[in-house]
Point group: C2
Amino acid sequence: MEDGKLILVGWNRSPYARRVAVSLNYYGISYEQRHQTAWEHFDEVKEINPIVKVPALIIEDGSFITESYAILDYLDCRVGPELSLMPPSSPLRDEVRRIVAIATSVIDKGRELRYEVHLRPEEHCHQPFVDRWSAQITNAISALEDMITKPFAAGEKFTQADVTLGVMYDMIQNMHPELLTVGSYPGLDLKAAKYHSMKEFQQAGLGYD
Amino acid sequence: MEDGKLILVGWNRSPYARRVAVSLNYYGISYEQRHQTAWEHFDEVKEINPIVKVPALIIEDGSFITESYAILDYLDCRVGPELSLMPPSSPLRDEVRRIVAIATSVIDKGRELRYEVHLRPEEHCHQPFVDRWSAQITNAISALEDMITKPFAAGEKFTQADVTLGVMYDMIQNMHPELLTVGSYPGLDLKAAKYHSMKEFQQAGLGYD
């Protein structure tokens, strides 16, 4: 490991890794990224993280942090309350927390849906799960569309609500385009266009060909 | 809603709901609990939470918070840094965060394993997923066993690491007993016995018959 450099283990096709990458970019923290997935690099990831998941962040002392919400908390503490993408106090923290929680839930369900329809043999696919998760995703996306009426997702400034919302939007459009057709949610489309223009997102590209 | 009373929507068989319940008990915050699952009460939960998941916490102004990590952050902010189960600063916060992240990941994989082996028709079960998730769970439990050598999970005092570790232990023992046999992890067994003696856990029983 290059001395003093953080290592983000995880490919940006993982929305969990990508929201860490966008946040690191925003904070201006230098890092190296290992484009690994737990799916394809089970043994290598197991060496770092006993639960064998990405993202994991390896910090300067060689220890790791796993789970994107935990990594983001670590980064927020590291940069301090003034710069943190998670506002330190109510009411803004409440609003950011609410949007982040719904957006991460959409990501969770999008991931389960991907496992169901893409990563298991078709004959083992269970349609009631597909229907259920699709309904949860579309219902939550509609709720988000109604919530994000301000210049940024949670108000007047860029926060973790924007990071997670942007990552969620790109993930669902890429993995489950039928659930988030451009034009169906004009408020989300506008926010996404804004995020796509930002270097923090561009420097943490999705990694699709 | 009874004026000024919080409502926790979710049954304690959900480890995510249960860690909120144990934390509320620890903080001495009075609450009413609705023993609903998103699985069985889809329409009722949808009325409260657009992503249709438990737990959700309905607070005094009628708004909701979803995702257990977000609800716990809300509660930590509510009680303040002195009482919070999440220590406000390093190095204790780092240690608690690490244990909580691994324990919640075990819970996540335990939930996916339950869906795979119990909630879908047997002919739709995909054995490679069962094997993979089981390996992730046992590997992470072994890592936790090696980490929790102090009086409490993360040191000298009771923290969110203990809440989440205790809930994880009970969940895996109840849902996947083959992955956490009593006697296999003596350090975890000892911690679990301590948690089981605490009123905060007893008052948030698992709800099994």
